[in-house]
Subunit: 306 residues, 2 copies
């Protein structure tokens, strides 16, 4: 059957593409389904400095395309489609897509996650130009500059502290009058002389033409608005894992991610998860790629056992 | 103190170098200790096809050097030394090396693993003169020659198949009457007309003066010995994790590897393990690199909480 594969991979970021490389190179009949461009979240990164092997950095788009080309060298098939359902069936798993149904013996879910947006003017336009959702990735670009962090949870505070290693000042903007982050992180943050806090404050607009120059903020108690100067806005208001296609097939953790073991196996035999979609992912291109290789090796072993 | 670091990484393969990149880029004062060349096991590989981002392949030596250069860009310090002890002490962990002692707040163990030797006469003497543990590296030297492969697992069979690209015949010598390798690999091997199999057979000696000329083998069922002519012996009889420096500090699994959780944390707070040295590693350059990134991120979080 033309629509039947040994392995079907959902998602074409570093996790999915590496799974595709490994599965194809192991001579498994493999299909990768991606609705957009290859590279996933990293395709939005103008300059990736922390993918090992590229000491001069590389654009995320180029890295995604190199990974794609490499997997194709070994026979990976791809289709541009959106997956709207994954269901168990006789003889495998059915992947329901906008381009028709496909049947797989093993499935690797690598659909990733998206950072929640604030949804304010300037945010999308200045994304990658000072608006960032990853301090580990982009913090080093703002040495000796003032940067803003938006959010009050563990990620916001932890990444804020991390940013003090680069920035001259880190202004944490939170809509409430206290943080949600763990007490320990709060203590570290309050003890850090480079950190300042704007309480009861929401962002109304991110300002700048070519680059972020500041943020227009509003105090929710007084209603007064003001402008703060900053070279970057790091936004930590949660992530949304892309699990719409999974429906009720797999149970998810409290963040909406798929629990796996170290071999990327989910609770259902023959279904694997890799990259940002899985619980406890480190959410880096290199860790997603590692996950993808492990998932493909596990899928190969699963198929041998069938 | 000059010998004090926030993070010390032991081992300069893909896991250690990626940990070094991430820790240095996070502006942690980081030292990487490597006794030999950078790249670890992969430095022996002439042509790496499955590290994502290099569709035309890359030599392992070059990949290791690119990773090394990238980490140095962000300030990673390195020292050429052998680590002979890791011990808990007041204020951190002491790393005892041939170049003196170093003190670390967090330690990432990325010492990797080495290939097991057969331990037969001729093996060491003819190493690099026909005795090899890396078909990818040395296969091209044996074009149109008869070569032997020793072992019956995935590596032995996979590398045996690879060698048929060069050799006129590949004789796989296995001590049992069936292979342990995956079904797919077995099928590929049995279907390959250049491959021959010597079952129930062990190697007693590797023969030759300047170069390998043959192997003396013994059938374990009949007890009879014979000599086969071959220009090379590729040995794939497992790996030995490099845990000598760990002593009794950490408990190891039955293979001698370090158990970790998904965040690369060992049983001791502040000590992490990454790559082939850890239990359940997928033993690929890309998975080791992913481990290294995760270990560095975990070390960073550990240090924030100190």
């Amino acid at each position: 059957m033309g629509n039947t594969y040994e392995v079907i991979i959902v998602g074409g970021g570093p996790a999915g593409l590496t799974a595709g490389l490994y599965a194809s190179r192991a001579r498994l009949r493999t299909l990768l389904i991606e609705k957009g461009i290859f590279g996933g979240q990293i395709a939005n990164a103008a300059h990736v400095e922390n993918y090992p092997g590229f000491p001069d950095g590389i654009s995320g788009l180029e890295l995604g395309e190199l990974m794609h080309r490499q997997a194709k060298e070994y026979g990976l098939e791809t289709v541009a489609a959106e997956v709207y359902g994954i269901a168990l069936a006789m003889g495998g798993t059915v992947i329901e897509t906008t381009e028709g149904d496909y049947l797989a013996n093993a499935v690797i879910i690598a659909t990733g996650a998206e950072f929640n947006r604030l949804g304010v003017p300037g945010e999308e336009r200045l994304s990658g130009k000072g608006v960032s959702y990853c301090a580990t990735c982009d913090g080093p670009f703002f040495k000796d500059r003032v940067v803003a962090v938006v959010g009050g949870g563990d990620s916001a505070v932890e990444e804020g502290i991390l940013l003090t290693r680069f920035a001259s000042e880190v202004i944490l903007i939170h809509r409430r009058d206290q943080l949600r982050a763990s007490r320990l992180l709060q203590e570290r943050a309050f003890a850090n002389k480079k950190m300042a806090f704007l309480w009861d404050t929401v962002v109304e607009e991110i300002l700048g033409n070519e680059r972020v120059t500041g943020l227009r903020v509003r105090n929710v108690k007084t209603g007064s608005t003001s402008t703060i100067e900053a070279s970057a806005a790091f936004i930590y208001v949660g992530q949304r894992p892309n699990t719409d296609c999974i429906g009720k097939l797999l149970s998810l953790d409290e963040e909406g991610r798929i629990p796996t073991d170290g071999r990327m196996e989910t609770e259902i035999k023959g279904i694997f998860a890799a990259g940002d979609i899985r619980k406890n992912s480190s959410r880096q291109a290199i860790t997603a790629a590692g996950d993808g290789a492990t998932a493909a090796i596990s899928a190969e072993k699963f198929l041998i056992q069938q």
